[in-house]
Symmetry: C2
Subunit: 257 residues, 2 copies
């Protein structure tokens, strides 16, 4: 297969002096090709890629390889595969979900501590609030208000936490920035599950949370970016401190050294 120059096979043996050579897997090549075309807009979202067997004849690859390539694109969120007649691989554009799931893998895989998550949220969310104040629509406000109502309601812990996540996501969505939204989605979920079974959410915390959220929401409604940043910063910082405080109280029980 590899064409060798007419080198005089000298003293020892074949010294063709060829480049370090690459061994790209066929499926990757196909996937790269299709991915590039999709991203270039050759296949607008919603269009169906050719059926597998069709791609087989076109690419002269085996169906196994073609399927592997499609699978890669599916994992990357670039296509959605449906079965049955009129099925096939349909082009779509990756959204926040895909970012969120990757970030989640990072968080779980690297065992990122809760402190680091909170730190990250402190870094990102005030900016979300700022952008939200700048770009929020009436629909965004409706979502924020709905989440606030749900939080104030006297529900179970799980319901409270879920409403909490919903509100934070509403802020992120109001920023109309898909990157920040994706990261915040993953962050919120992880913080949710980390905070879940720590019983430090008492009535007072809930009350404080509701107040803080209301304050931020009002600032966003009034499009007061500075206030939104300030209040959000205070809110998430306060939350982080409370968590750390509770953690130290919980962790202190192990014997010294």
């Amino acid at each position: 297969m590899p064409e060798q120059g007419p080198t005089e096979a000298g003293a020892t043996q074949t010294v063709v002096a060829m480049a370090p050579i690459r061994a790209p897997k066929a499926a990757d090549v196909l996937a790269d090709d299709l991915r590039e075309r999709i991203l270039r807009g050759a296949f607008p979202p919603g269009t169906a890629l050719p059926p597998e067997r069709e791609l087989v004849t076109q690419t002269h690859m085996s169906r196994t390889t073609v399927r592997e390539a499609l699978r890669i694109l599916e994992v990357q969120g670039l296509v959605r595969i449906k079965t049955g007649r009129a099925g096939g691989a349909f082009v779509q554009t990756p959204g926040q979900e895909s970012v969120a799931s990757t970030v989640n893998l990072l968080i779980r895989g690297r065992q990122i501590r809760l402190a680091a998550l909170l730190e990250t949220r402190e870094a990102i969310e005030p900016s979300c609030a700022q952008l939200a104040a700048r770009y929020r629509t009436d629909e965004d406000l409706a979502r924020l208000d709905a989440a606030n109502v749900a939080i104030a309601a006297d529900g179970s812990l799980a319901e409270f936490l879920q409403a909490n996540v919903d509100w934070h996501m509403a802020v992120a969505l109001a920023s109309h920035n898909e990157l920040l939204t994706g990261v915040m989605l993953a962050l919120s979920r992880s913080i949710y599950s980390a905070t879940d079974n720590q019983g430090f959410i008492d009535a007072m915390v809930r009350d404080v949370t509701v107040r803080a959220h209301t304050g931020v929401t009002n600032a966003i409604r009034a499009q007061d970016a500075d206030a939104a940043v300030r209040r959000m910063k205070r809110h998430v910082h306060g939350y982080a401190e409370a968590v750390v405080e509770v953690e130290s109280r919980t962790t202190i029980e192990m014997p010294v050294d």
Copy 2:
């Protein structure tokens, strides 16, 4: 397989009344299982999963299916597959690279405008600088200085831009926050390629950039978090404004409607 209630099979024929049933793909099931085990730490990084043929006998699935599952994990960055003897699927933990590539797909797929990218950077990078001032090590400082030297050097445009990216990445790395680092990696690259062939990088811009970077670097060195935030904010904001200004100058040339 589907348990049928003792329904009186009426007039026409079989009316088994079964639940909506789910049809999870075998490969996904395997992938989910392995992923969960990996994330739980059952297979520490570096360990090799059983060979494909071994998994076949264990799971009673076909090799095709097993391979598909492994492929999924590979795309998600949980496993690295090597060929040849002593090859196989080796567990690894996803890193910034994986986040960066996903974010890149989002940026390219959603055709996120340069303005939004710059906006996101304005949101995130000041916080990176803050954390960098807090946590920077000597090694981080060395990277920052090296990037600064490279920027000041009178190189080509490509070299300048690369050094620019390197410096921003050095800041992100100094924050010791893998999430932020991953996002910044993708952001920097995208901004790089978007800014590339716009000839608005003149000597003056380069000079301003060097000064700004030096200022931020010094703040990080002095562990002056406030100054780092302030200077970084000014820097990225100024950059964004410059880009917008150039863009309006460039775009104005199309005839009015």
